[in-house]
């Protein structure tokens, strides 16, 4: 029995131990139906193991998984019929053509839809190369075939693990648009990536995993704003700085030559009222927008998420 209002994925204290290594540690994830959900973490953080457990490939050591609001925990073949996934580098049969690979995977799942293979090959722009053997494909072509494979059977839930690996910039942009479109047509896409700029552009919600543990999850805009850093320009920045430093609801106050940076958990008007009460008037007050990468680095305490990270740095970084 399923509940359409329930999260499409809900894990409770999900754990996986490989010998002495705890790969996933009491992970409680909640992925709502529809949209693109980002699963972020550096290499070895437990993303792929988590996806493996959600796909029934890896047996959890503890905790539970509920898919599609099922009352009973676990991953059943019927659940997998509603899921499409590429995990890490797509693996296909090298001696079969791209088209025959898709035909095979469509056929073995018993979800054949007339014309679907050609439509998907068109979608990922592999139609001209569909008759070539998979072994002759470039990495980018393999990735595109992987995306087509994940969409076989019109799944409700799609896992895409690093889908833009090996793609040229144009290919990355195309896949990004495709992922966005998939999330907008009612299905749920779980995008696992360490390309944080990419994730920030296409995901509405993210979960950040490090060393197998969930560090944060929620709406992207909430996470990047949650730091509450504001930039102020006043008629007397030095006095404003003193007033704010003495205030219980203003933190990390600093002067950077162009104004004051301050972090607060309260509503911004409380800062302006406080300053006004001390005779300081605010000329300008803007929230400092951080990037997802900055947020990621802060919560994980890591120096970088991956060597090929292309997250852009904003000039007004806090």
């Amino acid at each position: 029995m399923t509940n359409d209002a329930a999260p499409v994925i809900e894990t409770t204290d999900l754990s996986k131990r490989f010998g002495s290594v705890l790969a996933v540690d009491r992970l409680s994830l909640r992925v709502e139906r529809g949209g693109v959900f980002g699963l972020l973490g550096s290499n070895g953080s437990g993303k792929t193991t988590t996806i493996g457990m959600l796909l029934g490939l890896v047996e959890p050591s503890g905790g539970s998984i509920h898919l599609f609001g099922n009352a009973q925990p676990g991953v059943r073949p019927a659940d997998l019929h509603r899921i499409g996934a590429i995990v890490e580098t797509p693996s296909f049969y090298p001696y079969l053509s791209g088209r025959d690979n898709l035909r095979y995977f469509q056929g073995i799942s018993g979800r054949s839809v007339a014309g679907e293979v050609d439509r998907l090959l068109d979608l990922v722009e592999l139609a001209p190369s569909a008759g070539r053997k998979f072994s002759t494909y470039s990495l980018g072509m393999k990735q595109r075939l992987g995306v087509a494979y994940a969409l076989l059977g019109d799944p409700d839930l799609v896992f895409l693990d690093e889908p833009t690996n090996g793609l040229d910039p144009a290919g990355v942009a195309e896949v990004r648009e495709l992922v966005k479109a998939l999330g907008e047509d009612g299905r749920t896409v779980v995008l696992s990536s360490h390309m944080l700029a990419e994730v920030e552009q296409v995901c509405q919600r993210v979960a950040i995993i490090s060393r197998g543990r969930l560090l944060a999850q929620g709406l992207v805009e909430d996470l990047v704003r949650s730091q509450g850093v504001m930039r102020l320009r006043t008629n007397d920045d030095h006095r404003a700085s003193s007033v704010l430093t003495a205030s219980p609801f203003a933190h990390d106050v600093s002067l950077d030559g162009t104004g004051i940076l301050v972090r607060t958990d309260e509503e911004p008007w409380m800062l302006t009222r406080l300053l006004a009460e001390h005779g300081v008037y605010v000329a300008e007050m803007t929230p400092v927008q951080t990037t997802l990468e900055q947020y990621f680095l802060e919560v994980t305490g890591e120096s970088g998420i991956g060597s090929d990270s292309t997250a852009t740095q904003t000039g007004d970084a806090a």
């Binding site: 490939l57 899921i83 996934a85 693996s91 995977f105 056929g107 073995i108 018993g110």
Partner: protein, 335 residues
């Protein structure tokens, strides 16, 4: 469609697009003809009446020198003998020998004729095909299962919701079908060969062709001989997640078992009781029709071999299914 049937159908789709099964088929077909054409040439030799050899002092040599002489019986029996420089005193003795050889040849001619003509040639071809075929089917079984691990495609398949044991069952079913198809091709080629050979010679007088039932029995016997081998190699490949290991251990075991038992047998007679229940011994016994072939569990009935091999098959398949069901499926192993 049933999941196992669907898995089998799509495994067949993949299998026939690979080079390997076709190459193995060509090898087994060519090898199987060793059961036909040598029999044909042997029959012709017998038809010529054979040769006799005797040691004669001085004949064809210097005084006091002894050396063997071989002469064609047809030449000896001719009147006068068509052997140059033959000591006339030797002719009666040679003729007695030739008469014996000719009598024996006359008895063997129908058997030799049956070996390369239909339907007897089918049995010959099945015997030779099953000897090499068990190694070739082991290669195919290890490759069919092992590449899913080495290429990482097992994960890609299972994500589609194909049940694990059902997928393995499909693999085994397609291997059994491939083995049967190969034997059918061998039968077809053998039939053509036999008809060609049959058209080149006369049947011996009073020849009565054996029944087709024996030929069908030989096909069934050869095919079932492959079944425990497939099960063993599938189990080993799943266990090691490796084509190379599955192939090497499976083939290595079937070769090593008779050799080891032969050596151990020298130490104790009791070991023969163990041999009666060993895998390779029973495969050899089964494919040899219960005959005491090298390494076979000799003197046992076909029913014994059938039961023992069936039990091995069930155990191997059950273990392989349990392993694939219970293990995590991670990235490509590359071996």
């Amino acid at each position: 469609m049933n999941i196992v049937a669907r898995s089998t159908a799509w495994e067949w789709f993949k299998l026939r697009r690979r080079w390997m099964p076709w190459i193995l088929l060509i090898v087994v077909v060519l090898f199987s003809q060793l059961g036909v054409w040598p029999a044909y040439f042997g029959y012709n030799e017998l038809g010529r009446g054979g040769q006799v050899t005797m040691v004669s002092s001085g004949q064809f040599g210097g005084p006091g020198e002894q050396r063997p002489i071989s002469v064609e019986c047809a030449d000896v029996m001719a009147e006068p003998p068509r052997v140059a420089d033959l000591d006339p005193a030797l002719v009666p003795g040679l003729r007695v020998q030739c008469a014996e050889v000719t009598k024996r040849a006359a008895e063997q001619l129908p058997i030799a004729y049956a070996n390369f003509t239909l339907p007897g040639s089918i049995g010959q071809a099945m015997t030779t095909a099953s000897a090499l075929g068990s190694i070739l089917i082991a290669v195919l079984a290890a490759s069919t299962v092992g590449v899913e691990y080495s290429w990482g495609t097992l994960r890609t398949v299972l994500v589609r919701g194909t049940g694990r044991w059902q997928y393995l069952a499909g693999k085994i079913a397609v291997l059994l079908l491939a083995a049967l198809a190969a034997l059918i091709v061998v039968v077809g080629v053998t039939a053509v060969s036999s008809l060609v050979a049959q058209s080149l010679v006369e049947a011996p007088a009073g020849y009565v062709a054996p029944g087709w039932g024996d030929a069908l029995g030989a096909i069934g016997r050869a095919w079932f001989g492959f079944v425990p081998m497939i099960a063993l190699v599938v189990l080993l490949t799943v266990l090691t997640s490796s084509t190379a290991m599955g192939m090497a251990i499976g083939i290595g075991y079937t070769i090593a078992e008779p050799l080891i038992m032969l050596l151990v047998g020298q130490l104790s007679d009791r070991v023969t009781v163990v041999t009666d229940y060993l895998l390779a011994a029973n495969i050899n016994g089964w494919t040899g029709g219960g005959a005491a072939a090298f390494g076979a569990a000799g003197g046992l009935s076909s029913l014994h071999h059938f039961i023992v091999l069936s039990l091995y098959t069930v155990v191997f398949v059950a273990l392989a299914a349990w392993l694939i069901e219970s293990r995590d499926v991670t990235k490509a192993t590359g071996t």
